[in-house]
């Protein structure tokens, strides 16, 4: 039989560049990668099964523990799904505060993703700068919600804490610092020769392939799929006149630049929210009831879908969670990594799609 593969290289499950365990098996011919296969199952939590049969008050805390990086959006989508089932209305002030917290979460997630990429391509200086600026964002999240990661900020019919004038002023001051720093780091990223060598034209995914694999979030938008941003369909974002960031190159560079641009966009959205924050209560009334719903929201990594079926006491009978990393990891390993010209680009290309294994395995 004709030999088509030189070496099959296993990468992971434990690898210095991976934040979480996952195994890639790359079949190579010379330096070129022909095919990649993914092996999961190193950190399965079985969280959907743990959620079944429990009251929503417990499930809301479990939902945000699916992922430690984008926990706010898991909280938001679960709560908005329960509100959809039960017909609970949210006061306008609470709706704006939800957007503020959600965008802060998006900022810290995007900055962490770009840190990981810079660290993977050995640009440690920029990586450390980014990690430093992420702390400011997490401080703002803590200021509003009382917690840096698992905030449990949203509840059916509103949010748990209001924002005071001093907090709003401190938030805007913090954002001004982040804006100044991120602008500088974006310029560093966009103009560096070293970064261009490792990023431009590497791991390219076309729009057709992105649609085929249902790539979502910055990964999809970097391949010119702007319609994948679900914030376009969210009523509060529509009031803010939201338009998605989009690029056409579809390579590692584009994916990182989309995330940098979205950090700046999030700053502007938060400023808009604080500027237009309506007066009024932050909690409405209502009880969770029986029903069934499929609800989607835009997580930092892309489309997050919850299918929920509840009984008349608000207990969760059935729940399925589809996280964006499921789509993005698949798109990355089967479309971006295939045909990269150097094995050294496998790790950076994989990290450029901002994979979250905790989300994928749930």
């Amino acid at each position: 039989m004709k030999k088509t593969v030189d070496v099959s290289i296993p990468i992971g499950p434990m690898h210095p560049c991976w934040k979480e365990p996952i195994r890639l098996k790359c079949e190579t011919i010379g330096e070129r990668v022909l095919r990649t296969e993914v092996e999961l199952g190193y950190m399965k939590k079985g969280i959907e099964r743990i959620m079944r049969g429990r009251p929503w008050q417990e499930v809301m805390f479990l939902a945000e523990r699916i992922c430690g990086i984008c926990s706010v959006i898991h909280n938001m989508v679960f709560i908005e799904a329960m509100e959809g089932i039960s017909g609970i209305a949210v006061p306008p002030r609470a709706a704006y505060l939800r957007v503020v917290v959600n965008e802060l979460d998006r900022m810290e997630s995007h900055i962490l993703a770009n840190f990981s990429y810079c660290y993977t391509i050995e640009h440690e200086t920029l990586a450390m700068y980014l990690l430093n600026v992420r702390e400011i964002v997490l401080d703002q999240l803590e200021r509003i919600t009382g917690s840096r990661i698992n905030t449990a900020y949203m509840i059916p019919g509103g949010v748990r804490f209001d924002i005071t004038e001093e907090d709003a002023a401190a938030l805007l001051a913090g954002l001004a610092r982040v804006e100044e720093d991120v602008e500088r780091y974006t310029r560093m990223f966009a103009t560096s020769y070293l970064i261009a060598l490792r990023s431009r034209g590497v791991g390219t995914m076309t729009r057709e392939k992105a649609i085929e694999a249902h790539a979502v979030g910055p990964t999809g938008r970097a391949s010119n799929v702007p319609e994948c941003d679900l914030r376009l369909q969210h009523p509060t974002y529509q009031k803010l006149g939201f338009t998605p960031v989009c690029r056409t190159e579809g390579d590692n560079f584009a994916r990182n630049m989309v995330r940098f641009d979205e950090v700046m966009q999030s700053i502007s959205l938060i400023r808009q929210c604080i500027g237009q924050l309506p007066e009024g209560p932050i909690r409405g009334g209502g009880a969770c009831t029986a029903g069934e719903i499929t609800y989607q929201g835009e997580a930092p990594r892309g489309e997050l879908t919850y299918y929920i079926k509840s009984d008349e006491y608000g207990r969760i009978i059935d729940i399925t969670v589809r996280t964006p990393s499921i789509m993005n990891i698949e798109a990355c390993t089967h479309h971006m990594i295939n045909d990269v010209t150097s094995v050294a680009d496998v790790t950076s290309t994989f990290i450029s799609s901002d994979p979250c294994v905790a989300c994928t395995e749930r």
Binding site: E39, G41, A213
Partner: protein, 129 residues
């Protein structure tokens, strides 16, 4: 893919992916469409696809339902793009050849329904082999 002595047997984990709510719905729809049992479809998927692709199959199937085979009734009925690009059961070249065969049958005067039934049988054989 190449197999190794030290590789784990992933069949049980792959099966667990395929029996989740969304996957089960998708498997049953595909099985109905192909006219085979759900377990045969699951087996074909476990043999062909890696874990990441299996996890993403419902999304791909949804995308395929929306976008694949637009404009041609024969292609839509056979699932030419759906079962080659979106759910890669059959290689694209082979699927193209199968679809062309069905179109040739129709051109030579065979009734459309009969040609489609023959085409579906061939696609089913290609998927289950």
């Amino acid at each position: 893919m190449t197999t190794y002595l030290y590789e784990k047997d992933l069949r049980q984990m792959k099966y667990n992916i395929l029996i989740s709510t969304r996957h089960d719905l998708m498997v049953r729809e595909i099985a109905d469409r192909l006219g085979v049992g759900p377990n045969q479809v699951r087996l074909a998927m476990i043999r062909r696809f890696d874990m990441s692709l299996l996890e993403n199959l419902p999304s791909r199937y949804e995308q395929g339902q929306k976008m694949a085979d637009a404009g041609s009734r024969v292609a839509k009925e056979l699932g030419c793009e759906l079962f080659s690009r979106f759910i890669p059961f059959v290689e694209e070249e082979r699927m193209q050849a199968l679809c062309s065969e069905v179109r040739d049958m129709i051109d030579t005067g065979l009734p459309e329904e009969e040609a489609i039934t023959t085409g579906k049988r061939r696609i089913r054989e290609a998927i289950l082999q």
